[in-house]
């Protein structure tokens, strides 16, 4: 019983088959060969970029870069886009709710460039303080970085409103869609943001492949951040000139089979339909909240206005690690710890939580089993 989907989802057979077929029968390096095998691999790779752009509601495949994952995508924006334009006195705005991947890169930049990192707090329910967010945004703000869905509380942030606040001041916005790209309609055009980041492995795809989509407005501002073959226009002893985004990021050989696998994952998601999946996840989340409330000594962490797919909780006097060890013996896989959101947990006065997170293959029967196990554990512990 797998309830750790916020960490990674299980891969579909179609993803595994697509990757394995490529590895066994179609493997060749891309953009370099003159022979058929390489040309076919290149075509598949670039077709996947077009499919990803469509998935994100865009007909411009040049807005889409393949990266190693959400963390890599965010770090690319930090180094490639933001670092060169920071000046002393500027500020970067992010939130206390972020995964470390969408927090530390900004913290490091702020420290290095002596700019201010402004961190939007949350209220007691686990919703962002939008008044404070609005106050933080000013003419010195060089980026607003915010997640779509909290990986610890499951809070769905009101992106329309948040992005609107930034756009009114012409501030670039990065959205970490790691927890939402699988289930929500996202894209830089759809959301009106400038940078969209997510990982393949949280949407039934392979490890080690992710997406950075950049709005057309900032495409020309995306500079190479690491150097090597594959990204150049011209190399001379005196000087090197580079291709444009997204081709200026892929120094070295990209993860071609990962891209092929991710394309298969997109097909799988589109086949079921995001609204269908979202609806299932929503039903399951609220069913779980109702059922978990019946466990003696349970504290559900946060009560945000909108949430989906992820529930953090604690049991009285039982550390989350001990919960996870005991539930493991009942065949239940859940997460325990800080979930890479230490600033959030500190702000909420928590050391750790247990976390369940769902996907389309989970069902109510599994939640019933979870509740039985938790009740049994509480009885044993007391």
């Amino acid at each position: 019983m797998y309830l750790d989907n916020a960490a990674t989802t299980q891969r579909t057979q179609s993803v595994v088959a697509a990757q394995s077929h490529f590895d066994l029968y179609e493997n060749a390096n891309i953009h370099r060969g003159i022979y058929d095998l390489s040309n076919q691999a290149t075509q598949k790779f670039e077709n996947a970029r077009i499919e990803m752009a469509r998935f994100l509601g865009s007909n411009n495949a040049d807005t889409v870069a393949f990266t190693q994952g959400t963390t890599a995508s965010i770090n690319i924006v930090a180094q490639s886009f933001l670092a060169p334009r920071l000046q002393a006195g500027d500020n970067i705005v992010t939130t206390i709710m972020e995964h470390h991947a969408n927090f530390i890169p900004w913290q490091m930049l702020a420290e290095k460039h002596q700019v201010e990192l402004r961190i939007v707090p949350i209220d007691k329910n686990g919703d962002l303080d939008l008044v404070q967010l609005s106050n933080f945004l000013d003419r010195k703000t060089k980026l607003l970085a915010v997640s779509h869905i909290s990986n610890t509380l499951g809070t769905i942030h009101p992106l329309d409103e948040i992005i609107g606040l930034a756009k009114r001041k012409d501030i670039p916005v990065l959205v970490d869609a790691a927890q939402s790209a699988c289930y929500f309609e996202v894209g830089v055009d759809l959301l009106n943001c400038d940078f969209l980041t997510f990982s393949g492995h949280k949407m039934f795809g392979p490890f080690g492949i992710g997406i950075l989509q950049v709005s057309e407005k900032y495409l020309a501002d995306m500079m190479p951040y690491n150097y090597g073959g594959g990204i150049i226009k011209d190399v001379n002893v005196e000087k090197t000139s580079f291709r444009n985004f997204p081709h200026n990021l892929d120094a070295g050989t990209p993860n071609v089979s990962g891209v092929i696998g991710l394309a298969a994952a997109l097909k799988f998601i589109t086949g079921i339909g995001k609204s269908e999946m979202q609806s299932h996840l929503n039903d399951l989340t609220y069913y779980a909240l109702d059922q978990l409330a019946q466990v003696p000594g349970i504290e559900i962490i946060g009560n945000p206005k909108k949430r989906i797919g992820i529930i953090s909780f604690n049991l009285k006097n039982i550390h989350p690690h001990d919960i996870a060890s005991f539930l493991n013996k009942d065949g239940i896989a859940l997460r325990a710890g800080m979930h890479c959101t230490q600033p959030l947990l500190n702000a909420m006065g928590l050391h750790a939580t247990a976390r369940v997170s769902f996907s389309i293959y989970n069902n109510e029967e599994e939640i019933n089993k979870l509740v039985v196990s938790l009740k049994e554990l509480m009885k044993f512990w007391s």
Binding site: I318, H319, P320, H321, D322, A324, S325, F326, N328, K329, D330, A336, G337, M338, Q342, L345, H351, A352, F380, W381
Partner: protein
């Protein structure tokens, strides 16, 4: 480890130690402190050492963590009292070696033996070693 074995272990060994830990209180007047922190999970304890004439006279600890880390540090604190830094380094070295290796390591203390038998406890060895590693790292580099 089966579920029944896990329940027996916690019922007979871990929970009693967890519920009645040895010297579980802050000791602001201590001679020095060591922090045991696992940044992956958030478990965090401070170990308070009182010393006299080159010997550890008493050890207290306080903080937050799982039943295993708390029980393990409780056992550690009790065993460190009246030892020299050299002997504490040897004790913690021996314990960590026993947790990391397949070969059994003798130890006279029954509770330490019990902890060492948990070396294959899936995903929890770091909880058990937390305090021991902090103490070893400290005394390897610092005299009293």
């Amino acid at each position: 480890m089966t579920k029944q074995e896990l329940q027996q272990l916690f019922k007979n060994e871990i929970l009693p130690e967890n519920e009645n830990p040895y010297h579980f209180q802050e000791s602001p007047a201590a001679s020095f402190t060591i922090e045991a922190y696992n940044s992956m999970c958030g478990d965090k304890y401070t170990l308070y050492f009182n010393t006299s004439k080159g010997q550890i006279t008493s050890v207290y600890f306080y903080g937050f963590g799982c039943a295993l880390s708390k029980a393990s540090i409780s056992i550690l604190c009790k065993n460190m009292e009246h030892l020299s830094p050299k002997n504490i380094t040897a004790l913690s070295d021996q314990f960590i070696y026993a947790m990391d290796q397949d070969h059994p390591t003798e130890n006279a203390d029954k509770k330490i033996q019990m902890l060492q038998q948990l070396k294959h406890f899936d995903g929890r060895v770091d909880c058990i070693k937390l305090g021991w590693e902090a103490v070893r790292n400290h005394f390897e580099n610092t005299a009293l």
